[in-house]
């Protein structure tokens, strides 16, 4: 078992890759009462087309299948995994993103039993025509709930504008029509291909003893049979890199919403340099449009943006973009003002060096604070995106960033980026 101490965080991370390929990470947290565990597969809503494990021909599955699979994993022939967790006091859940599916529990007692329940239910699929059809009503309601939510529509609409010819354009949950096509055999095929231990990781954090916990996981895995690991062949449609510049959606909203998406077309560095890129971008946007920025105050005072304004830097397998969103009485004025700032970003950043220390400190503080939350640590952890680096290296990376790094990264990102505006205005 590897052991790495991070002195600036006061944390020690234990890790080991098991014989079957499962990557296990253990982070003991003194003083905590509960343990949080999350098991993640490198498989999300965009992985619709692939060559199945021990197959030769590519298949394309209906949009929303990864999320559908996530729902269906809980139900077994004679029980529901929710109930097994509850028996041991564990509280369980799951979530699906564009590139990952995660299953989790948190528990203050019976860690061993809850861990085994997690490994068992994620690795032992059970689907029938009847159970699959039953889920369509539930997920259908989930889809319709989000259809009525203007913030969700604004976000997913913007991503779709940025990647119109990619599977990112499909909502994570799919549509009523696409999920209607899903069959038990599709779920088995996806599970077989993407839920192999070599495509998964397990992160356990909180009250735990590393040696003992690892032994439980190893024993559990050693008792199970898995196919030989093979590289996964994902197939993506060719990417024209064209974005849809502007879309307007009518919904019965009380206030209009404006969302700007900025898609990076530049090639990302690898390893820890990618983490550095992401943090430099984050500092850059904070300097341009964060609450310490003079432009923020000017737009706020003009009523172009309000307290709902915010932005997010998102970097994932195969894509990176920045999403800025807010309520805006005049979405066009919102777009014009933001575009003007982005257009002059290099100059504006050059004159912002007196605020650099403040935003750097803020980023350090925010990363440190996230280590209060077991959920935040485990959910944000990604051991493949940045080579050997992880979020545990982030404070060190931020401390070393300079104003020059920020200007260079922002210029690289913005000079070739594709930009889109999604408006949501009242009407139906």
């Amino acid at each position: 078992m590897k052991q790495k101490h991070y002195s600036d965080l006061g944390e020690t991370l234990y890790s080991e890759t098991l014989d079957n390929g499962l990557r296990v990470y253990l982070l003991p947290k003194a003083g905590f009462h509960k343990t949080y565990a999350v098991m993640t597969t490198d498989y999300g809503s965009i992985d619709q087309s692939f060559v199945p494990l021990d197959g030769t021909e590519p298949v394309t599955q209906p949009a929303g299948i990864a999320h559908f699979l996530e729902h269906k994993m809980f139900e077994k022939a004679d029980h529901d995994a929710f109930d097994t967790f509850a028996h041991f006091g564990g509280s369980s859940n799951a979530f699906t993103s564009y590139t990952h599916t995660s299953y989790l529990f948190s528990a203050t007692h019976h860690l061993k039993e809850n861990l085994e329940t997690l490994l068992d239910f994620v690795q032992d699929p059970y689907f029938t025509a009847q159970t699959v059809n039953k889920e369509k009503g539930i997920i259908g309601q989930e889809i319709q709930m989000y259809e009525d939510d203007p913030n969700s529509r604004a976000y997913f609409g913007t991503i779709a504008n940025l990647y119109p010819d990619q599977p990112l354009a499909d909502d994570i949950a799919g549509t009523l029509a696409s999920i209607d096509k899903i069959k038990a055999a599709d779920l088995y095929l996806a599970h077989k291909t993407f839920y192999h231990p070599s495509n998964m990781s397990l992160f356990v954090v909180g009250r735990l003893e590393p040696t003992e916990t690892l032994a439980w996981v190893k024993a559990d895995q050693a008792a199970k049979q898995f196919a030989k690991p093979a590289p996964i062949k994902r197939i993506l449609p060719s990417d024209t890199q064209q974005v849809i510049a502007h879309k307007k959606l009518l919904m019965p909203v009380e206030r209009p919403k404006a969302t700007i998406g900025i898609r990076g077309m530049d090639e990302l560095p690898t390893g820890i340099d990618r983490l550095k890129y992401e943090d430099a971008l984050s500092l850059g946007f904070t300097l341009l449009l964060g609450e310490t920025a003079p432009d923020f105050l000017s737009l706020y005072d003009q009523g172009i943006i309000d307290d709902s304004f915010g932005y997010n830097i998102e970097l994932q397998r195969g894509a990176h973009h920045v999403i800025m969103a807010g309520e805006a009485e005049d979405p066009q004025a919102f777009e014009d003002a933001i575009m003007d700032i982005l257009h002059h970003a290099t100059d504006k950043l050059a004159s912002a060096s007196d605020r650099f220390e403040a935003v750097q400190r803020e980023a350090i503080g925010s990363t440190l604070s996230s280590f209060n939350s077991l959920e935040a640590i485990a959910n944000q952890f990604d051991d493949r995106l940045y080579g050997d680096a992880t979020l545990f290296d982030e404070v060190g990376v931020i401390k070393q960033l300079t104003m020059n790094d920020v200007i260079q990264t922002m210029t690289q990102f913005l000079s070739t980026a594709g930009i889109s505006l999604q408006e949501i205005v009242s009407g139906h």
Binding site: Q144, M145, V253, D306, H428
Partner: protein, 419 residues
């Protein structure tokens, strides 16, 4: 034990090294009404964004960023009959940033933003006041775009139609807010600072002695101890129902019942277990029967509020299934009265509730809230004692609890002609 700094002014310190941060809240608490609630909402909006020392968001944000991204917020809470204006801030423990003492800086910062607001001629500065009032009004409008919130609020207005304070959203009453002037609000604020009960709560790697010495500069004065009653016992009333149509894909069914059991009463723990079994957990009868068995909803749950003795049910469903869902919900209540649930599910509910309570010990915010609430109620129940009480609840207790549930209000937000 909380320390009394002056009459009606309490300091609760929770020393712990569990977190990377130190969290501090300063609460001004008084019995609530619609006008005061609305005043407080507007105060929160205003004081979160400006002060004499930090007149703009940028100057305020710059200060917080330099303090390693310290958080600062002002919000309003309501526990039963009491309402509070809360100033809160969280900083990184000095240990992780080396050398600096952020704690005393935070305590000074909070004093500055609370006691030196942005004022001209005994009124809040008019430009800032006007803009923040407008922002708040816009925010109140946009809240209605969240249909789950909207439906719950509409149900609250039905259920509490004779109690405007409880019918009003925690974000205030738009009409009342529209009528508040910069001068009147400033006068109100000065009164609030001198007459409200104050609770200061700090959790983190700190000692009470440090806090007492840092707070000495605040010179907090004695104040009259007010009527501290928290629990509101709503009288039984006739059943009221309302259906409203909106162009939506999903309909929302919200139901309110009276369950006359109150926070930390002898029967309180029975009500908690009953709610866990009925709809308060993902292994509950509502989740199993509305969602898993009949595929009628993505969410179907219940919540119990022990400060008003209210049980709330909510489900997002197709408009054509209203009757079916209402029937299933009613059947689950009847089933519980008849003991039609397994020992296994009962034990699972108890284990889940215990897990939830113990997990709250890992949240700094929960620790702060619980300490404040304990002082407000002049009582406290440790997590261990809470668990003991929950374990003593029997199946029969839960059956009897279900019999005391009385249907009082139904609100249906009906989705029509979307797309």
């Amino acid at each position: 034990m909380p320390k009394q700094l002056a009459k009606g002014v309490w300091l609760n310190v929770i020393p712990t090294t569990q977190f990377k941060t130190i969290s501090m809240t300063v609460d001004y608490i008084a019995p609530g009404n619609v006008q005061e609630l609305s005043n407080r909402i507007l105060l929160a909006q205003l004081l979160e964004t400006s002060s004499a020392e930090y007149p703009t968001q940028t100057s305020l944000a710059q200060k917080l960023s330099m303090m390693y991204g310290a958080s600062y917020g002002v919000n309003v809470f309501r526990y039963g009959l009491q309402e509070g204006l809360r100033f809160s801030s969280t900083i990184i423990n000095d240990h992780f940033i080396g050398g600096e003492s952020l704690l005393s800086e935070m305590v000074s910062f909070l004093h500055s933003v609370i006691y030196r607001p942005l004022v001209t001629d005994k009124a809040f500065e008019p430009t800032t006041f006007g803009r923040q009032k407008q922002n708040l009004m816009a925010y109140l409008k946009s809240l209605n775009d969240d249909k789950q919130y909207y439906a719950e609020q509409q149900l609250g207005e039905l259920y509490f139609k004779n109690e405007p304070f409880f019918a009003t959203s925690l974000y205030g009453d738009a009409e009342t807010i529209a009528g508040i002037s910069a001068q009147a609000l400033y006068t109100t604020y000065q009164q609030l600072l001198t007459t409200d009960e104050i609770q200061i709560t700090v959790a983190g790697d700190v000692t009470e002695t440090d806090l007492v010495s840092m707070l000495a500069h605040w010179q907090l004065q004695d104040r009259q101890v007010h009527d501290g009653e928290v629990i509101y016992q709503r009288p039984e009333a006739e059943l009221v129902s309302k259906t409203e149509g909106q162009p939506l894909q999903q309909s929302k069914l919200n139901i309110a019942y009276k369950l006359p059991v109150y926070y930390r009463d002898a029967d309180y723990y029975k009500a908690i277990v009953f709610n866990g079994l009925f709809g308060g957990t993902p292994i509950s009868m509502l989740f199993k029967n509305v969602r898993e068995k009949n595929s009628l909803a993505y969410y179907a749950s219940s919540r119990f509020d022990g400060f008003t003795g209210t049980l709330l049910v909510q489900a997002g469903i197709d408009q054509s299934n209203e009757k079916a869902v209402r029937t299933i919900i009613a059947e689950q209540l009847t089933a519980i009265t008849k003991g039609q649930f397994s020992d296994e599910v009962f034990d699972q509910v108890v284990a889940s509730l215990i897990n939830g309570r113990e997990s709250r010990l890992d949240s700094q915010r929960s620790l702060v809230n619980q300490a404040m609430l304990d002082q407000l109620l002049h009582s406290s129940v440790s997590a261990d004692d809470w668990v003991k009480q929950i374990k003593q609840v029997t199946r029969e207790d839960v059956e009897k609890m279900a019999e005391r549930v009385h249907l009082q209000a139904v609100y249906f937000l009906k989705g029509e002609d979307a797309k």
